[in-house]
């Protein structure tokens, strides 16, 4: 469902992502783990077609992100770090708007909105403006918006950052249910315990390069670490963040 081969991304002369390759299969959850500035968000943005790759190929749901960006967007759900909701619009209006943009409409869309709000426990807030929501409620609404068109691929950028325990649990449950539904899930996170619990495979990215990619157990075994956190620390200390590396 997601296939990344030799992806490079540069901002001017600064190389942020350095020839990374990985894949995410249907029904699989892959975690992209790395320190701040490692290139996680840039990678996810390339996959979401908001940034163009400098080199390499990226296929999402069978479509090339450069050649068919609209088809990629139609098949992917992206949840950025910030929910990016319209505060003056109610929960239902936010969802209806994105539904229309995804080509949905009529009673089918209304039914889907009700279904998602009920699933995320937001039915009572259906007609409440998003600006009045707590951070957890906003994140849930953003999730509902992202999966409104029932896409086969999910890309989540630090979906639990800054959330309380209950809201984090709701997001994790959502990822697990998506996996059960056969979706491919790629998410970035700082929370290694969480990644260990949820991910089938993890990729540790440092300085724009993938240092390790495999099941959490394999990644730990490769460096003789007891936990994923130890393996992560090993790679970060070994590689540094490589922020000063330049193209060419």
């Amino acid at each position: 469902m997601i296939e990344v081969r030799g992806l490079e991304k540069a901002y001017g002369a600064r190389l942020v992502v350095r020839g990374i390759s990985f894949d995410v299969k249907p029904g699989e959850v892959v975690g992209l783990l790395g320190p701040n500035g490692a290139g996680k968000t840039t990678t996810l943005r390339v996959l979401a077609t908001t940034l163009r790759p400098t080199r390499g190929t990226v296929m999402v749901a069978g479509f090339d992100v450069v050649k068919d960006p609209l088809k990629v967007r139609a098949n992917v759900c992206v949840l950025p770090t910030d929910p990016g909701l319209y505060g003056r619009l109610t929960a239902a209006e936010n969802l209806r708007y994105f539904g229309h943009l995804c080509g949905l409409g009529g009673p089918e869309l209304e039914r889907r909105i009700d279904e998602l709000l009920e699933w995320l426990g937001l039915t009572a807030a259906k007609h409440q403006r998003a600006e009045e929501f707590s951070k957890g409620m906003r994140q849930k609404l953003a999730l509902a918006r992202a999966v409104l068109h029932n896409p086969p691929v999910l890309i989540l950028d630090e979906p639990t950052a800054g959330l309380d325990v209950l809201a984090s649990r709701a997001v994790i449950n959502f990822i697990r249910e998506s996996k059960k539904a056969g979706r491919s899930v790629l998410f970035s996170s700082h929370y290694l315990l969480e990644a260990d619990r949820v991910c089938d495979r993890v990729a540790i990215i440092v300085g724009g390069e993938i240092c390790a990619f495999g099941t959490p157990r394999d990644v730990c075994a490769a460096v003789g670490a007891a936990t994923l956190e130890d393996a992560f620390a090993h790679w970060v200390e070994l590689r540094g963040n490589g922020a000063d590396r330049r193209v060419g």
Binding site: T50, L70, R73, A74, G84, Y86, R88, H100, L101
Partner: protein, 403 residues
């Protein structure tokens, strides 16, 4: 595709209508500000003049006894109240009273004035006024006019004593006729005010919607979510553009309506001069103005959107848009005070100037087809370029993630 453009358009409109800043700029200011600006100033001025006219100004005549007939004649007209002061009175003290507003005029009649008059010699009369106050300058004008009339009476008497006619002094009999129609007067007033506000409100009316649609979305991070939807960038820009246009056009129409009602109905009624002002607009003229205005609003909306999305923040966008507002305001202010019509054809190819000229000429009933066509083509080309710029800004990753 149209359904997606419409979705963006309606969402932006809904968001704008719920934003107090937009409502203030779009509805409140045009509806409230225009009547206040047009009506309150002139009405207060007229009321002040009426109040001045009701209160008779006081003139101190120093040395009134030197020419008693003059003081008596002025008093008899009732236009000025005369306070007699003996010759040699302290003029400096009187000037203090004048500057304090206690009296409005000091007139000095020299000794021997009566003798000079009898000898048919000019009598030097000194008038001291305080032109910093309207009441004193009005009293000075009044005194000069009364003195002139009194002088004419004296000359008539002298001529009669010599058996001569007063017609000797008036070789010409002037007959003046003003061909200005009420429509011309009303049209000229609207031509002076309305084009200025049209160009300014084309920017101000949709300003907050444009800033919110670009920099605002960027700041809230909703823009990234929007461009991740399966909608082409051009369609997103088209929806946002239509929303900014709708808001700005509504503001401009409200403004024109408000200005017209204030100027043509409210002002004459308040001044008790109904029917004084009217305006004669032709269907073709109105159509030309509407088309010009719509294209100009579109041009400003596209420019504002491009500037807005280029900006890193709401505040930065406000600075850019304010700059745009000043850029259109200066030629508008200049043209407000230039009366000539019929500028060279090339000037109609310059956006902003052409809108001002066409709108003004429509109100003055002097608009020509070639000028309107050049204006429309010029605005359409500029609008196309500005829209293209906005689409480029929305789809360029360097601009989009310039935070």
């Amino acid at each position: 595709m149209w359904a997606k453009v419409r979705a963006v358009w309606l969402r932006e409109l809904l968001d704008s209508v719920r934003d107090k800043r937009t409502l203030y700029m779009m509805v409140l200011l045009p509806i409230v500000l225009m009547p206040v600006m047009i009506v309150v100033g002139p009405v207060m001025m007229v009321r002040q003049q009426e109040s001045l006219a009701r209160e008779v100004p006081v003139a101190v005549v120093v040395g009134a006894e030197n020419l008693p007939e003059l003081a008596g004649w002025i008093e008899s007209t009732g236009a000025l109240a005369v306070e007699r002061a003996p010759a040699g009175s302290d003029v400096a003290a009187l000037e203090t009273r004048l500057s304090e507003g206690e009296v409005q005029l000091v007139v000095e009649v020299p000794e021997g004035a009566a003798a000079l008059l009898s000898a048919e010699q000019p009598v030097p009369i000194r008038v001291i006024s305080h032109s910093g106050t309207s009441r004193s300058s009005m009293a000075a004008d009044l005194f000069q006019s009364l003195l002139g009339r009194y002088g004419e009476e004296l000359v008539s008497r002298r001529l009669a004593e010599r058996g001569l006619s007063t017609e000797l002094l008036e070789p010409f009999a002037l007959e003046a006729r003003d061909i200005t129609r009420r429509e011309d007067f009303g049209g000229r007033l609207l031509a002076m005010i309305v084009p200025f506000f049209i160009v300014v409100w084309a920017v101000v009316g949709g300003m907050y919607t444009a800033i919110d649609a670009g920099a605002g979305e960027k700041e809230r991070n909703s823009l990234e979510c929007l461009i991740m939807t399966p909608v082409p960038g051009a369609a997103i820009v088209a929806g946002k553009f239509l929303a900014v246009c709708t808001i700005a056009l509504a503001a401009v129409v409200l403004l024109i309506g408000s200005a017209s009602v204030s100027l043509l109905y409210m002002l004459p009624r308040l001044l008790g001069a109904q029917g004084l002002l009217s305006v004669n607009l032709t269907g073709g003229g109105l159509l030309a103005m509407l088309a010009t205005m719509t294209l100009f609003v579109g041009l400003m909306s596209a420019l504002q959107l491009a500037l807005s999305v280029f900006s890193k923040s709401f505040r930065e966008a406000q600075s850019y848009v304010s700059g745009l507002m000043f850029a259109v305001m200066f030629p508008a202010m200049y043209l407000m005070y230039v009366e000539e019509i019929g500028a060279s054809l090339w000037t109609y190819a310059v956006p902003v100037l052409n809108v001002l000229l066409v709108c003004r000429e429509v109100f003055m009933g002097a608009v020509g087809l070639p000028e309107v066509l050049v204006t429309l083509v010029s605005l359409a080309v500029a609008l196309g370029l500005a829209f293209w710029g906005a689409v480029r800004a929305f789809t360029h990753e360097k601009v989009l993630f310039r935070t």
